[in-house]
């Protein structure tokens, strides 16, 4: 079987398209690369969606912790404490058991122009349940980074904005938020990389892989167990993850350039995979 045929058969296997049965005997290198790559789409999906929503929620959390009254501040602090203080591994297990307990029922949300139907059993599926956990987790870690940055926004900048007569909303949009982002950005890029790496945990915790549709590590593990040879599939997924991390660094570098356009000597986002110590 040629490699392009393998790509056709297994390229989207992680989403249930193509060949149903996974290769069992005579596993070729090409099959390993294609199937693990197919699973990596899940990792990218989880990382991208969790980061986008996590970014928004983390910003809100950071403002609640710094600027809001105790009614918002205390829950925000507690949220960050719980999610940063416990292992993501246990959070996955706990959330899965929690979602399993929720009674099965369907919802219909009438949006006026269309009707969305949702079902609580989706929560026990990785695509939604694990995503929620990842989203909450990255929100907590990012909120911690943003809180630090928010506290470091120079007072003079805010006072200058006041002196210009900016109202709260304009001040936030033009002064506080961009400065906070600029200060937090290099730590935040580490958080993004770390979150991308965390996506590999999903199918090894509570969430089962439905019809063998798993992420990259799920297939890497499958091959290692079936060939009794860990020296091929794990290096393949390692390369995928390093490439993904490089892409993230590249993207965050571009944004950093834009954020620091007005700064004379902008801090360089160097590719130091080492600084992933933010967690």
């Amino acid at each position: 079987m040629s490699c392009s045929q393998t790509l056709w058969d297994y390229g989207l296997r992680a989403f249930g398209y193509g060949e149903r049965l996974l290769p069992k005997t005579d596993i070729t290198f090409c099959e390993q690369v294609v199937l693990i790559g197919s699973g990596m789409i899940w990792n990218v999906y989880f990382a991208v969606v969790a980061i986008i929503f996590g970014f928004l929620f983390a910003t809100a959390l950071a403002f609640a912790r710094v600027n809001a009254g105790p009614l918002l501040r205390i829950p925000a602090n507690a949220f960050v404490f719980v999610f940063r203080g416990s292992p993501l591994f246990i959070q996955f297990f706990f959330a899965y058991e929690l979602f399993v307990q929720i009674p099965r029922m369907g919802f219909e949300v009438d949006l006026g122009f269309m009707v969305l139907s949702a079902h609580t059993s989706w929560l026990t599926k990785a695509w939604l349940g694990a995503l929620i956990v990842l989203f909450l987790n990255t929100s907590a870690y990012s909120a911690e980074i943003f809180t630090g940055a928010l506290r470091a926004v120079p007072k003079g900048d805010v006072e200058a904005a006041d002196a210009f007569g900016m109202n709260g909303r304009t001040k936030f949009r033009r002064i506080v938020f961009p400065t906070m982002l600029r200060l937090a950005w290099s730590s935040y890029s580490n958080e993004a990389i770390f979150l991308f790496h965390s996506t590999a945990l999903i199918f090894f915790t509570g969430f089962p892989a439905w019809r063998q549709q798993g992420d990259g590590l799920y297939y890497a593990n499958y091959f290692a167990e079936n060939t009794f040879n860990p020296f091929v599939s794990y290096p393949i997924i390692a390369v995928y993850f390093i490439l993904g991390s490089l892409l993230i660094v590249g993207f965050f570098g571009l944004v950093s350039k834009r954020l620091n356009k007005h700064v004379a000597d902008p801090p360089k986002l160097k590719f130091r995979m080492g600084s992933i110590l933010a967690r």
């Binding site: 203080g85 297990f93 590999a200 890497a220």
Partner: protein
């Protein structure tokens, strides 16, 4: 355990619960907390050793040693740790068995990798098939310690590398001006000051290490995650203590346990920081 627990089916309420929580299986779960704490303590020396080796290798004047140091730290950190937790135990296991096979069964000519199988002779099995259950668990635990050490050694190497660079150059120049040799400068001035800069990074690593201990479960060690799954699952009337699916409570308890562990660590580190930075002008 207690006399009143002789007939669990007739018990109710708190008595039932207290009997339930003191069954031998629960005792095994409490004992596995010690496994987690034991692992945390057991991995620290090898982690620090590998961390130092890595940091010093990265500063080495010999290029290949430096490359080795840089390669080790960046590869381990560029890949999710869970990949290593799946890879190293089986890789180390195979490496050990392969070497033992070559030594002990030199007369066996068949290749070790036969298609999709990894075949070594009986004498090369590690631990031996006839060995006591204890040795199997000890071997699993040792593999876990080595894996943790390799992964976290790389993180530590990076922290120590940064800390060594953070010591003000003036301090080292002064030491040299006093006529200290390279070695003396390193041990008497560079190292003692390095710790202050390394502490924040090391404390952060300790937190990550705590939160990585549930991965023991993946390594086949019977840790608290294993027992939570085992004990929490639904128990039908066949069992002495029947109960519905209680895993959510068990994992909730684990969550609280880890929160407590990180909280205590954080408080301890706050104290150490305050102590270590006395007399030094270190920001925050």
């Amino acid at each position: 355990m207690f006399e009143i627990c002789a007939e669990p089916r007739s018990l109710e309420g708190l008595t039932w619960l207290s009997c339930y929580l003191t069954t031998p299986k629960h005792a095994a779960m409490y004992y596995s907390i010690l496994t987690v704490l034991g692992l945390l303590l057991a991995v620290v020396p090898p982690i620090l050793f590998l961390g130092f080796a890595g940091a010093l290798a990265r500063r080495s004047k010999i290029a290949p040693v430096r490359w080795l140091g840089v390669g080790y730290t960046s590869i381990v950190r560029g890949v999710p740790d869970i990949v290593f937790f799946l890879f190293f135990p089986i890789a180390l296991d195979q490496a050990v068995e392969y070497i033992r096979h070559k030594i002990k069964c030199a007369d066996v000519l068949e290749p070790v990798y036969q298609g999709n199988d990894f075949v070594v002779c009986q004498a090369a099995k590690m631990p031996l098939g006839i060995a006591d259950q204890f040795y199997h668990e000890a071997w699993g635990f040792s593999l876990a310690v080595i894996t943790f050490a390799i992964v976290f050694g790389a993180f530590t190497a990076n922290t120590l590398h940064g800390a060594l660079n953070a010591v003000p150059k003036g301090q080292l120049e002064t030491a040299r001006a006093f006529g200290m040799s390279e070695r003396q400068t390193f041990w008497r001035v560079h190292m003692p000051q390095m710790w202050v800069y390394a502490l924040p990074g090391l404390s952060n690593l300790w937190m990550i290490l705590i939160k990585a201990t549930p991965l023991l479960f993946l390594l086949g060690v019977k840790d608290i995650v294993y027992w939570a799954k085992e004990l929490g699952g639904m128990k039908t009337q066949v069992y002495t203590y029947a109960h519905p699916d209680w895993r959510i409570w068990y994992f909730g308890a684990l969550l609280v346990f880890y929160l407590f562990l990180t909280w205590v660590s954080q408080r301890a580190f706050d104290r150490i920081f305050a102590r270590a930075s006395r007399g030094l002008s270190v920001a925050s």
